[in-house]
């Protein structure tokens, strides 16, 4: 049961369900009939050439982008223009960005506690304890009182992961989390993500790190030109890609 389910076979508890989702940027049809189901605890790696709509797709899941047609359900709640639904969904969905997007004017600890205190209404002391717990999980508790600008890229990205986790999300979205990092820092971030995956977090990861995909993913979703072209478990996808487009992509990314 690791393959993203076709819509018709309704799984017991889908965390994310996208049904016939379309999106346009002006005239440009960025997402074409996206159908994707992600069950609890499932790890999905999304790959594909740049401009294929991977980022746009996961950004639709927490409404950073608005879809124009079709339906998206997150933990049973439908994403509509209703602000209440959007806020409810955003509380359950954590997101890690390519550019970290930490708040530079706040210390690491303040970055981690702001949303729990104001959105989740957690008491400050408890929020700080949670923050320290997650900083330890990402192996940088000693940086708690520094500002983001004082940390390396890899450390910043780990803080960003911890910041999302402090909201106790049910789902984590990763939008090319290692693409802006120097090569020597990629591993420290991937290690944290692997640990998170082993803990059973539901994850959707847009990445070009195929090693990570092999280790962690339950299924690989290959996108091209706004469509989901293929989705398969990693062994199958890497060994026997079904489409020419996937074969071409894999040869470009793996075959040097």
């Amino acid at each position: 049961m690791v393959v993203p389910q076709p819509v018709k076979s309704v799984s017991p508890h889908p965390m994310i369900e996208m049904r016939h989702v379309h999106k346009w940027f002006g005239e440009f049809h960025v997402l074409r009939d996206i159908n994707l189901t992600v069950n609890q605890g499932q790890k999905v790696v999304v790959c594909g050439p740049s401009g294929s709509g991977k980022s746009t797709m996961i950004r639709c899941i927490n409404r950073l982008e608005e879809h124009q047609d079709g339906q998206i359900f997150v933990d049973g709640i439908e994403l509509t223009n209703d602000v209440k639904n959007i806020e409810a969904i955003r509380r359950e969905v954590g997101m890690v960005f390519q550019q970290f997007n930490l708040f530079p004017h706040l210390t690491v600890l303040e970055n981690l506690t702001l949303a729990p205190i104001w959105v989740r209404k957690v008491p400050k002391k408890e929020a700080e304890e949670t923050a320290m717990y997650f900083l330890e999980r990402v192996h940088i508790p000693e940086q708690a009182h520094k500002y983001p600008g004082q940390l390396s890229g890899g450390q910043q990205q780990r803080v960003a992961i911890a910041r999302s986790l402090c909201m106790r999300p049910k789902i984590m979205l990763f939008d090319e989390p290692t693409s802006a990092l120097d090569p020597e820092m990629i591993k420290e971030v991937l290690d944290v993500m692997i640990e998170l995956a082993q803990d059973g977090m539901t994850m959707i990861v847009v990445t070009h790190e195929m090693g990570f995909a092999r280790t962690v993913a339950d299924s690989i979703v290959f996108m091209d030109r706004g469509e989901i072209v293929e989705s398969a478990p990693p062994q199958e996808f890497f060994a026997h890609p079904k489409t020419d487009r996937a074969r071409l992509f894999l040869s470009q990314i793996l075959g040097h």
Partner: protein, 379 residues
Amino acid sequence: MSDTQSHYTSPTFAGPKAGQPGRSFADIPPVKWARANLFNSWLNTALTLLLIYFIVKYAIDLVSWGLINAVWEVPGNDTRACRDIRGIGACWALINEKFRFIMFATYPYEEHWRPALVIVIFLALYVVSAMRRFWNRKLIAIWLLGLVAIGVLMWGGVFGLRYVGQERWGGLPITLILSTFGIAIAFPLSILLALGRRSDMPAIRVMCVTYIELIRGVPLVSLLFMASVMFPLFLPEGVTVDKLLRAQVAIIMFAAAYLAEVVRGGLQAIPKGQYEAADALGLSYWQKTVFIILPQALRLVIPPLVNTFIGLFKDTSLVLIIGIFDLLNAAKTSVNEPAWRGFGVEAYIFVAIFYFVFCFGMSKYSQDLEVELSRHRKR
């Protein structure tokens, strides 16, 4: 000239910064510095000597006019001593004589302690507001308290204080009232206008754009005229709004439009990722704006903000055209009396010192604040 200094600058510093004439004296002995920068060629030596001559000459003139030959006191309003030395010595006796008028204008003489105390309250409010440890809810309470105290002192009519109508207020308190409340109210208003101009809601956006462009498009003088002359025409018979209040509103409206564009500049400088990160964490619009966007946007625009504040402080002197006796108008009026006519320079120098002290204070404080608030950028 900088290319001629290489004989003392080490050749490794051959870049454009190599021989900045202003390099600190600590590095180079003064004599050597002067020789290298001021007397390194015929032309430079001549220019240096010429400038020294003028500087010394005018410094001597200024000191002898302002201090040595100055008249400090004229008994019994007899200004003949002053007239005798006109052009040779300053008549500081004017300030001596008219000090209270310039400071408080037509406020009843025996009640002058009240506006004097108001000035002290204003200064105390500035000092408290400048200290970061008061940057919390307490500050609002302190300001409200200050506001009440200022109102009670200026108007009176309670606690056995004699009632003094607004038409008799004047001098420095007026300047401080107009500029302080001008800034204090216009600034939050400008933030709302700037946010509104970037709003997703078309109605709000159009309203804010219209307001900003309309108000910014007319001179403050014309707004003051409208507030003073036209506005009362629209009021029903018998209803009057005080002239000072009308001027205050005009100043607030004007300043808000200007400040809004400064704030908007700061908002535009914030990367999209900051908005997205805040959204993704589930922060509401106002939480995002208050905790994430504004703290970053406002500290980016401290220099232009303070620039506008300083401009506004001095612009309050325009109220003289609608007959309000602010500090500058009081100084101007103080030399109207025949005995003192012609001593405007002394009066203007005196008030210029006040304007300078307040404006320089703002400027200096903002520089410190910038350093303080940009700690997070230090590695």
